[in-house]
């Protein structure tokens, strides 16, 4: 009765009857409805639109929160139970999560909402885009070698992407994209869609890399590499670590080697050591010497010390120069995260002998660990708001692109800020952890369904050929389902003047 008045999307428009109506099976919940074309399943949330399973559930209204709300609590999550809402006065922004879409978008986007901002009439066009051109960029904070650059990344055995560049303390991967989604076998497309959907909805996903590791990736969580949780991101490269900790080391030891697959640092040769008058120790490191105290390729990449394949750090030391080194010389070897460390004292034949680490040295290793940030997986969705989606917003799609370029239109995804690539089209990236939970859906084409909102002044909307007749005031959408986001930063709130060029001083 009363609670059923919540507005749902108008059901998918019935199509002209065909001889054999196609039915599809929905797997959104355990009921597994068969849904006839043009109809919705038992839940009224998923419909069969021309053979495509499509979400049509109530709009999700994003409450502007100052404090972290996270109101949609995961089931039986005791710690966060009954926190309830921490909602500020009703400054609401309608997100496209659950807006439902009409695919292809030949008619106005499901909701075109008007609201006011500082006396300026604003319009938000809310739609869920079906993205056949989409993927995720993964940033895995780790020093470990995950696989070679360009190695294939697989999900359930199917190729879904590849390893790309190594960046600072992290390995990048690129998953999805049109070639995996639609260019390969059906199985490949489905596996890619599944992997992307789960990653974007912040589920853990296990990926395997050809000639590399098996890795569990979950947005905002530590990566698990070959069953081992990565705790820390490196404090810096081996050379940087020398620079950062030389002051703390040089009083307690004669030599420090920071083992790093990229740049191994050696205190006595390093500029930082020289400045502290650390005497030469005669240490000879294997690998290519770059500048003093900096060595490349001391070993092969792997799962051992500092992202190398070594278990015994002494294997990277060729010898000590008998003319320079001395018995009793104290040496610390440590990895870039402090996860590995060992302490040696040279015997009379100048052989390093493993020795118990003095407390001051141990403290310095702990300091390295402390200075490492937690290792995380970042999942950034990338999608292109192509031709048909724009048509839901305006009768003249290219004008929307230009309006975005001119910063008259502000683009958000589930209310979260996006980065828009320069160049043609509206290709955007968004950090999935800034979006409401479970913002993504899929259609079996296969493609991902992601929320996208375009916010602009009423006049600007009219100027770009907007569907003016479809505008509904925000108040009219009351009674819709709503959800708060974790995103707390005021600056990200989509309806704020500083997002728009017309508010900038020239």
């Amino acid at each position: 009765m009363t609670d059923e008045t919540a507005t749902t999307m108008p059901p998918a428009t019935p199509r002209p009857r065909r001889e054999k109506p196609a039915k599809i099976r929905c797997d959104a919940c355990p009921v597994l409805c068969y849904i006839a074309e043009g109809r919705a399943g038992a839940c009224d949330r998923y419909a069969n639109v021309e053979g495509v399973l499509t979400r049509v559930d109530p709009l999700v209204i994003l409450d502007r929160t100052v404090q972290s709300g996270g109101e949609l609590v995961s089931f039986l999550d005791k710690e966060r139970e009954w926190e309830g809402d921490i909602v500020q006065p009703p400054a609401r922004f309608v997100t496209a999560v659950g807006a439902g879409t009409t695919y292809p978008d030949y008619k106005p986007a499901p909701f075109i909402v008007s609201s006011q901002m500082d006396g300026v009439d604003m319009v938000t066009v809310v739609t869920e885009g079906i993205f056949s051109y989409c993927g995720v960029k993964l940033k895995i904070d780790t020093d470990r070698h995950l696989g070679n650059e360009t190695a294939t990344v697989r999900y359930r055995g199917e190729p879904v992407g590849h390893v790309t560049t190594g960046e600072y303390g992290s390995q990048m991967m690129s998953l999805g994209g049109v070639h995996h989604l639609t260019g390969g076998s059906k199985k490949e497309g489905r596996a890619t869609c599944d992997a992307l959907l789960n990653l974007c909805n912040r589920q853990p996903v296990e990926l395997t890399i050809d000639d590399g590791v098996s890795i569990v990736v979950e947005a905002g969580k530590a990566p698990v590499i070959d069953g081992q949780r990565e705790e820390r991101m490196r404090v810096g490269c081996g050379s940087a670590a020398i620079g950062m900790f030389a002051q703390q080391w040089f009083r307690h030891v004669d030599e420090v080697v920071v083992v790093d697959d990229h740049i191994t640092g050696v205190l006595s040769e390093h500029q930082a050591g020289k400045l502290l008058d650390v005497p030469p120790t005669g240490i000879k490191i294997k690998g290519h010497k770059s500048t003093p105290g900096r060595y490349f390729r001391v070993a092969e990449p792997g799962q051992g010390w500092g992202g190398t394949n070594i278990e015994d750090p002494l294997t990277i030391i060729d010898r000590f120069d008998t003319k320079v080194a001395w018995p009793g010389l104290k040496m610390l070897m440590v990895s870039t995260t402090g996860d590995h460390s060992a302490y040696f004292v040279l015997d009379d034949d100048l052989n390093p002998v493993p020795t118990e680490m003095p407390e001051a040295v141990r403290d310095s290793v702990l300091r390295v660990q402390e200075n490492c940030e937690p290792a995380l997986c970042s999942v950034v969705f990338i999608g292109g708001a192509g031709g048909s989606l724009r048509a839901g917003v305006t009768e003249n799609p290219v004008k929307l692109t230009r309006s975005v370029r001119d910063m008259l239109t502000y683009v958000t995804s589930g209310g979260a800020a996006v980065y828009i690539w320069p160049g043609g089209g509206i290709t955007y990236m968004v950090d999935v952890t800034q979006m409401p939970e479970n913002s993504f859906g899929y259609v079996p084409t296969p493609a991902l369904v992601a929320p996208i909102e375009f916010t602009m002044r009423l006049g600007d909307y009219e100027a770009l050929g907007g569907h003016m007749a479809s505008i509904r005031p925000l108040e009219e959408l009351g009674g819709l389902g709503h959800r708060t986001t974790r995103e707390a930063e005021q600056g990200h709130w989509p309806v704020l003047p500083h997002h728009f060029s017309w508010n900038r001083k020239t």
Partner: protein, 297 residues
């Protein structure tokens, strides 16, 4: 890909929303804060796995009830079957009471907690109620015109009323209907019974073979509908007052038969703004802004 159940407090900070697939429950418990919190925990725990429990016997639950032997095993499934079987020999499947039975099962979990004054579980209009002795009455809005949800009055259920189930069904509702009622609201001793009765009465408000009524086999609309190839209403065109009255008469006689057999306590039948009341309907006086034209009680 299947999403699990979720729960949250509604923005009023008081009511609880549980959702999983086609089930959406709005729950309200009144009483001391710790009792309410405990009750909500009970509800959440009961809800976990509930849909799976039903789905495991879904095929049987979509079969019409026949005879006296209940073929299903789950506690909610059995309750559904029993509620539906009271209305034999009508064509009815246990699915006719699914919403009410789910509401009742979750309510039962809630009220295990001592100290609650009252509680309600609203499953998309099929409502199970609890009232401790002396509790404040529940007031439930009755929607006569779906386009005017504030219209026109409210049912008032007192603690000493026998009514603990209220259900609404109609051609414009979420489920398919064989009839043309805009809505039929039934008050009964329990929610599953109210649910079945509302479904059957909404079917009974009908004009067989009327040219303004478009029907299609249920299967064509929902391939796995429990209604098989029964013709369900997809559109009702223009009807004159006589036709509306005839359809309501049919529903009214069916409701009176149910009342006489002690299956329901009362019913509100609505078609095109015309309302019929059957039995004890504690309808509060319609509010002043009700358009008199709409309400012909």
């Amino acid at each position: 890909m299947s999403a699990g159940p979720h729960h949250r407090l509604l923005p009023d900070g008081h009511r609880l929303h549980l959702g999983h697939g086609p089930i959406d429950l709005i729950i309200q418990a009144d009483g001391p804060a710790d009792a309410v919190a405990m009750a909500y925990r009970h509800a959440v725990a009961r809800f976990d796995g509930l849909l799976e429990e039903l789905v495991s016997e879904l095929a049987l639950l979509r079969q019409p009830v026949r005879g006296s032997e209940c073929p299903v095993h789950g506690p909610i499934a059995r309750r559904m079957w029993q509620a539906a079987s009271r209305f034999q020999p009508a064509f009815v499947t246990p699915m006719a009471s699914v919403a009410g039975a789910v509401a009742e099962a979750v309510l039962a979990a809630l009220v295990q907690v001592p100290g609650l004054e009252r509680a309600s579980v609203n499953n998309g209009g099929d409502i199970a109620l609890y009232l401790a002795p002396g509790a404040r009455a529940w007031r439930l809005g009755v929607v006569v015109d779906p386009h005017d949800p504030a219209s026109p009055g409210a049912l008032q259920i007192e603690a000493d009323d026998p009514a603990r189930g209220v259900a609404t069904s109609g051609a414009k509702g979420r489920s398919h209907s064989l009839g043309i009622a805009d809505s039929v609201t039934v008050i009964a001793a329990d929610a599953p019974t109210a649910d079945v009765a509302a479904t059957l009465l909404a079917n009974a408000v009908d004009l067989p073979d009327h040219p303004a009524i478009e029907r299609e086999p249920a299967e064509a609309l929902s391939p796995d509908s429990d209604l098989g190839n029964c013709p369900v209403t997809v559109h009702v065109g223009a009807l004159n007052d006589d036709a509306v009255a005839t359809a309501l008469n049919a529903g009214e006689s069916a409701a009176e038969a149910m009342l006489a057999a002690d299956r329901i306590l009362g019913a509100v039948l609505v078609l095109r703004g015309m309302v019929r009341l059957v039995g004890a309907v504690p309808l509060m006086k319609p509010s002043e802004n009700t358009n008199g034209k709409l309400l012909h009680v």
